[in-house]
Symmetry: none
Amino acid sequence: MKILIVEDDSILSSNIADALQSEGYSVVKAFDGLLAEKMMLKENYDCIILDINLPGKTGFDICRDFRKTDTFTPILMLTAFGELEDKVKGFDLGADDYLTKPFYMRELIIRVNSLLKRSSKNPGDAKKDLIYKAGDITLDDGKKKVFRNSEIIKLTPREYQILLKLIKNKGEIISKSQLIEEIWGSSFTANTNTIEVYINFLRNKLDKPFGSHYIKTKVGYGYYFDNSENSNL
Amino acid sequence: MKILIVEDDSILSSNIADALQSEGYSVVKAFDGLLAEKMMLKENYDCIILDINLPGKTGFDICRDFRKTDTFTPILMLTAFGELEDKVKGFDLGADDYLTKPFYMRELIIRVNSLLKRSSKNPGDAKKDLIYKAGDITLDDGKKKVFRNSEIIKLTPREYQILLKLIKNKGEIISKSQLIEEIWGSSFTANTNTIEVYINFLRNKLDKPFGSHYIKTKVGYGYYFDNSENSNL
DNA sequence: TCAAAACAATGAAAATACTCATAGTCGAGG
DNA sequence: CCTCGACTATGAGTATTTTCATTGTTTTGA
């Protein structure tokens, strides 16, 4: 169980981390809103503890944007004392629970435990397997949606199928004949350059507007999804 | 265990919340009758604590309307001191227990505990699995009934089956072939547009009279039930 | 190293498929 | 015999898929 703590007060953050670790959870900390969001998009956490007042981007905004791409990871919000409407807003934006500062660590533990219990019971647990993350691309195979940094990218079915195949085997080279076989079926007469055209469509939507190169060509062999360090060189 | 507290006095509300939380319950608060009702229809709570005097809509009305679609979630009513007939009326409208203000928190805890014990022993517990809520739609698969905000919607069997499948997997895309397979069976020759037509029927009954769009099309992929924030855009 | 050959990318246009609303047929049951 | 639910047919509007001609890029071998 891996938990992300997003809290800029380093003392509080460490206290929370200690408490959770002593419960056997593995913990990752983030102190800045923007950085936190990137981490959330790149990696699957089992639970996220999210402060509201953060440098970079507020917890509210992070929560709202994150819920566009991920609806199952439980979020526990930390609100300042007395800010009652914060709680309402938090729930509206997709938080699963809140805790008012200051709080007892014991209570935080209870709430995290119950959030995790709830989400593990949920049928949504299986949905995790349907979500693929690679670089700053998120592909939700349940909703058939693709995001780039929480910005949605609209793909046609064929484009989507190709991207799915490439992301499922990221790093691996997929030959054109493999793509044809799996997406068009064996009966398809591939006497034209249909695949090249679709790869081009994909790049137009996925790579070019962002100035990056995830979809790479291996001349003579096929295509592959590259999310290594310097993938956009 | 998640408990909803519907009480407009924020001090009392917080006191109740604290008491329940220290018992290990997870708590959600609502301060307005109309909002509370929306929350009740959208989410399954294990117990509801309901004040009578509320802005927006009285506890009596909420209770009565809620019981049309949900007969198992225990409701504990809070009545003002001396209003004896309130208790009678409360029971008549479907409340499971009442508590007269002011009261000791200890007593509230006891009553909530016993309500929860009772409902968990009940055969009605199994019924929860048969009730699906999504947005302001409630589908009772035990009674084969569909409600929109406690107003019943009459569906034909085929329409019902489709809606059930979509709501069971709300948010997920269901392809036409999946729908055909599960509802008509594998032997059905799907050479026509039967599904499109039924989706149209469903929308006519479920969406159009209310100016909303729960049933969405993902062109080329299939259909899905959308109850996100801006589902009617 | 350079040119030819093989391979890949691109833009535009034609062909095809999909969705949806309306209208109509058919058969079972009151 | 009339109504209602299940299903079929059709056509317009839209979106997607495919083809083709052209341009660009990489590889190879003399």
